[in-house]
Symmetry: C2
Subunit: 107 residues, 2 copies
């Protein structure tokens, strides 16, 4: 299991990012990464099967939303914050900020 491939910043596509973020499970993962910084796949699965999570991480990786780094047997994931901010200024802020308001104010 060598380091998985990631798109370069310039190759990150808006529609793919939006698509990656449009799934509740993946949005949840992104939220957690935003709060907790870097985390392994298992730490973010909330009890969901490994194979399902592996699928979602792949989508997030391929879209350029997260970067995965191998550390022993664990795969550490983190948001590609700066790169995304540079490429789509304000997008992640809007998605995640809204999220917090949603969690606090509405529920």
């Amino acid at each position: 299991m060598r380091e998985p491939s990631h798109p370069e910043t310039a190759a990150i596509e808006l529609t793919r990012v939006l698509y990656a973020l449009s799934d509740p499970v993946r949005l949840d993962v992104v939220r957690q990464l935003d709060r907790e910084g870097e985390a392994s796949c298992t730490a973010l699965d909330r009890g969901r099967p490994k194979s399902s999570m592996s699928h979602h991480f792949r989508v997030l990786r391929d879209a350029g939303v997260v970067r995965t780094r191998c550390e022993g047997t664990a795969h550490m994931n983190k948001l590609r914050r700066e790169e995304l901010d540079r490429r789509f200024p304000g997008l992640l802020d809007a998605v995640l900020a809204r999220d917090q308001r949603h969690n606090q104010g509405q529920k």
Copy 2:
């Protein structure tokens, strides 16, 4: 063909909006609406079949991204800008701003 139903502002869901915007055809429609204000379905179809466009407008409507108003036989669509801005501040700006940069800088 009475006025189609639209979700209330408070009922607009982030994941559905992101999903609606993640399709190139729909994103293109949203771009055009952003530039041109209000427009009929035909004016935005770029030669695509009516049934396909009808599908996309439905997705955009159901997600709360556009509002459709009947005017004679035509259906006029417009972005629900203010409502979206209120519910997800900065989201549409990020999506559309990036869009323009993309169109200008890259193409």
